[in-house]
Symmetry: C2
């Protein structure tokens, strides 16, 4: 397998509601990423979009984006893993270049959640026959997990507050973040509306529009395209029992653990080598569970990393360095591509006021549904 | 890139309406294919399903199938290309093994079209903003193309009849074909109901339920799993302008031409080396256009291959040897995996009464939408 690097990135500001259409957003970031890599063609395009079937009445999105971007003719396929869809598109672009089938591949992720009511569409990431039929949604499921977690591990009411404060603080310096202009205080988080008990507004990532893309090339050719290539050192995808309550321990994300192990082995990297971790903080409880599953905290203690503020830019394991899903925003199909762009900026010293001190290895994790699919990528310079 | 072979196949009879659920159908063919390869685990599973979002209210299908099949933990991702979705899943499984990321990968395709009204959902393969909004459907679009084609090339009313007769004749000997028990005559085809002028019932593939799967392994290990491995010699995916009437020539399938060229080059095979061709006869006009785009007939003369009956089992270029989309059935996500299973049976001398005489090279083509994505695979022994 030949090593693969990122040689171009493209992202646009996440917005509550953009005047652009889905295809326009996607074509724009494809152009931005290709311009960044200084290429006028690619061999393959892999598109991640979760909600277009319902919100835009549109399937076959990869071919549509290819045409809109002026790339008709190119190989183009749709790839998905529910709410982890962006990382699935990155995974496939990686396989295309690693295999030698493509010399240049683009992974693009896009979501326009403002075209309708996304919550019931997002719920289709859960089991239609045995969960959705009983009224489950992703919000409800995360609230339930959070309640069990807080009860079992005796977590105080303010145990998760710093997940939101860290994310919102970091978003202030990210020009592409949805909440870049919003100053968020501890009081705002603590007093925010309860969406489903015990999950509050500030425990949840926002509904929004966004798109991002990256161009991949063989590492051995990467510097021909970019003065700042970033290597994909390893990746791993794992699944778990589909329904949370079929799992031996509903409070342990086995797929996070397994996919991280695969990626670590592939990259020959230990979790202690990781300088920062763009994790899937769609809900603050997910951030805590991921930190535990990957091994940064013992079970039941992931929330303490936030409470003791060991997740900031200068701390033990920086997370959500550009705002995370919570405050940059979580335009589903686009999310992991935003994370990838942010990781590239951090690893190449271009992250602006949030720049970490000489990071060399970054980790990214993306969650499909309530943890049934989890995708890990490890990046390095 | 390491060569890849098929080492296991699994298919179940296509039915008008199966009592099984989507996930049950898929898990069954996964088990059949794994049993055929005599393996108890795989490294990755790629699922093709086009209509589940709407018809089953279910996304995240790959992880659901993995769990239902008892494979929770495995890498599992959803892959799509509208009506060519099954071939997209095969493509990704191929990339996973070719790259070395997986040693054993399964591609599974499934569709349960009987759970609702599929026609408007299928139409989402077209442009929601500029085609569907004007009342376009895949049936309507194919009828329009057929009308233009018949007019431009002066095709008689009975010009396409043998596409249906050949497919239905071959389906009689395929135990998995939807229409295995139906005897179809020239008169039945000619007098069948006009669905949209000039497209008749027998010009269209049926709505149905079905699932099929194949297991892929590195060619260098293939005989450890199967006494009858079949090589994937090459593959190519190409797109075209998304909307038919944006194309320079709406009657030429550029993506068929391009993807076939890619696959031929990759496989180092000429179209004259191809012993039979499982093409995408979702509509008889598509069969004619594909035969032209790949080079088996001049433009405007693809239908003559049918009229002169040069497409039968003993003829120049056998197509739909086990019934094709027309008569085996076209359960969208499953279709290309059925085609792949049939190709494996033909190439290994296990196709029963329809067995071709010592075929060595087979070609498969799958169409997304009205030709915006076309995927070609070349197989050999």
């Amino acid at each position: 397998m030949r090593p693969v690097s990122i040689v171009g990135i493209g992202q646009i500001p996440v917005q509550k509601q953009t005047p652009q259409t889905l295809r326009q957003m996607a074509a724009q970031v494809v152009h931005l990423a290709m311009a960044d890599a200084e290429v006028e063609r690619v061999d393959a395009l892999f598109a991640g979009n979760m909600l277009g079937d319902e919100l835009q009445g549109q399937k076959h999105v990869a071919a549509l984006i290819a045409d809109e971007a002026g790339l008709a003719g190119v190989e183009a396929l749709d790839v998905r893993a529910a709410t982890g869809t962006g990382a699935a598109a990155l995974r496939m672009a990686y396989l295309a270049v690693a295999s030698g089938e493509a010399d240049l591949a683009i992974a693009v992720g896009v979501e326009k959640m403002s075209d309708g009511v996304p919550t019931p569409v997002l719920a289709k990431a859960l089991d239609a026959e045995q969960e959705v039929v009983n009224g489950d949604t992703l919000i409800g499921k995360n609230a339930e997990i959070m309640r069990l977690y807080m009860q079992k591990f005796d977590v105080p009411e303010d145990g998760f507050v710093n997940f939101a404060l860290n994310a919102h603080g970091n978003a202030r310096n990210n020009p592409n973040a949805l909440f870049k202009d919003k100053e968020v205080t501890r009081e705002m988080v603590l007093n925010s509306r309860v969406i489903q008990y015990p999950l509050r507004l500030f425990d949840s990532s926002p509904i929004c529009d966004g798109a991002a893309a990256v161009v991949l090339a063989p590492t051995e050719e990467a510097r021909a395209y970019s003065p700042n290539p970033v290597k994909i050192l390893g990746a791993g995808v794992a699944t778990d029992r589909f329904r949370v309550f079929d799992r031996a321990d509903p409070l342990f994300l086995e797929a996070s653990h397994l996919s991280a192990l695969k990626a670590f082995r592939h990259a020959n990297v230990h979790r202690r080598d990781v300088d920062f971790f763009e994790l899937h903080d769609a809900f603050s409880i997910m951030a805590a569970l991921i930190l535990e599953a990957v091994g940064y905290a013992k079970q039941g203690e992931g929330w303490r990393l936030a409470q003791e503020m060991r997740i900031g830019l200068d701390d033990d394991i920086p997370i959500a360095t550009m705002g995370g899903l919570k405050a940059r925003g979580h335009p589903i199909g686009g999310t992991a591509l935003y994370q990838t762009c942010e990781i590239v900026l951090q690893l190449t010293g271009r992250a602006g006021p949030n720049q970490l001190s000489h990071p060399e290895i970054a980790m990214m994790q993306s969650v499909g549904g309530a943890g049934a699919t989890i995708i890990t990528h490890i990046f390095g310079i």
